[in-house]
């Protein structure tokens, strides 16, 4: 009886911790995480590679949940995690939670028109006035094309 009660108690104590993790998309297969700051420091080294990263979710696509931004542990910088529409939908409630993400590092160039459009779109989504300074963002963009994630 004591053994049974012990099992039940352990289950009840462990369950909230287990449930706290929310898997999204395909299961994560890599065991080692690469710091977000490492990728941001030398992004070209990782282009085309499948990586696993872990970081604080600081922003999420409000309308479609099709991207989120993970903060660099060194602060002031973040890496965008993008998914094909519908593969994963990141909930807005993910902001402020730690997340592990698995995907391939991508590099692409954005034209001035694309930058203008994106800056205007982001300003609108965040309820802020369009700031021309946002156009000073990098011309080369790096992001993770995610296949799976876990919210911790």
């Amino acid at each position: 009886m004591k053994k049974f009660l012990g099992c039940v108690l352990s289950f009840l104590l462990l369950t909230p911790a287990a449930l706290a993790d929310t898997p999204l998309g395909a299961p994560i297969t890599l065991s080692q995480s690469i710091p977000v700051s490492d990728i941001l420091a030398h992004p070209d080294r990782f282009v085309g590679q499948k990586v696993r990263i872990r970081g604080l979710v600081v922003d999420v696509c409000a309308k479609r949940g099709c991207w989120m931004a993970l903060a660099s542990e060194k602060g002031f910088d973040q890496l965008r995690v993008k998914v094909r529409d519908g593969v994963i939908v990141f909930p807005m409630e993910a902001r402020g939670r730690e997340a592990s993400v698995e995907g391939v590092v991508e590099r692409f160039e954005v034209s001035p028109e694309q930058r203008l459009r994106r800056a205007k779109h982001l300003a609108e989504e965040r309820g802020q006035k369009f700031n021309p300074d946002d156009l000073k963002q990098k011309r080369i963009v790096y992001q993770i094309r995610a296949t799976g994630a876990v919210l911790h």
């Binding site: 604080l56 600081v58 409000a62 309308k63 479609r64 602060g75 002031f76 973040q78 939908v89 409630e93």
Partner: protein, 182 residues
């Protein structure tokens, strides 16, 4: 039973069966069709406040975050914080975010409340659950095709396919083609 009676019975029963799913797809379709004009999943509210300078003297972001929540009488616990820039601190709660400009004391408070019911049916429309829902949605699509085809043969005469019904059917086929050609 002749084929017309069978056709009508099939149309009637499929119609009853499809009511729930049709409403799910139609309502969420309306919501998702206008994503550029509104957020179909969350109701986002934002407002700005000016924080007192003495509050911002706290240099520890965790303690500052807690003090800000207390000052603003926000009952949600502080989940995390992040320095998004040299003079910007982001505070995260379960259902919201506060972005503080540390130099000016201006803070933008943002709450994101899920649109209960609509968010769930939008997820079904976009097949987020996958697995069994994919099958159910496929069956529903086939049922819709059957509904459309059986519907053509319910009435006879002036209002049937050889009369008014035929013209309306033709209009329904031509309309998407015209849109594609424009």
């Amino acid at each position: 039973m002749n084929w017309r009676r069978l056709n009508t019975a099939l149309h009637r029963d499929l119609g009853y069966l499809c009511v729930g799913l049709t409403l799910v797809y139609a309502l969420s379709g309306l919501a998702l069709n206008h994503t550029y004009h509104w957020n179909p999943n969350y109701k986002i509210s934002r407002y700005q406040v000016l924080l007192p300078p003495e509050l911002l003297k706290q240099t520890d972001p965790q303690l500052l975050g807690q003090a800000v929540l207390e000052h603003l009488d926000i009952q949600q616990p502080l989940r995390n914080h992040y320095r998004s820039g040299p003079t910007t601190l982001d505070l995260f709660m379960e259902k919201g975010k506060i972005q503080i400009a540390l130099d000016s004391g201006r803070a933008q408070i943002e709450y994101a409340r899920p649109r209960t019911g609509l968010k769930e049916i939008n997820a079904l429309h976009l097949n987020h659950p996958r697995r069994a829902w994919t099958w159910l949605a496929d069956i529903y699509a086939v049922a819709l095709c059957l509904l459309a085809i059986t519907g053509l043969f319910i009435l006879r005469g002036r209002n049937g396919l050889r009369g008014r019904g035929g013209w309306l059917t033709l209009a329904g086929i031509v309309l998407p083609i015209v849109v594609l050609l424009l």
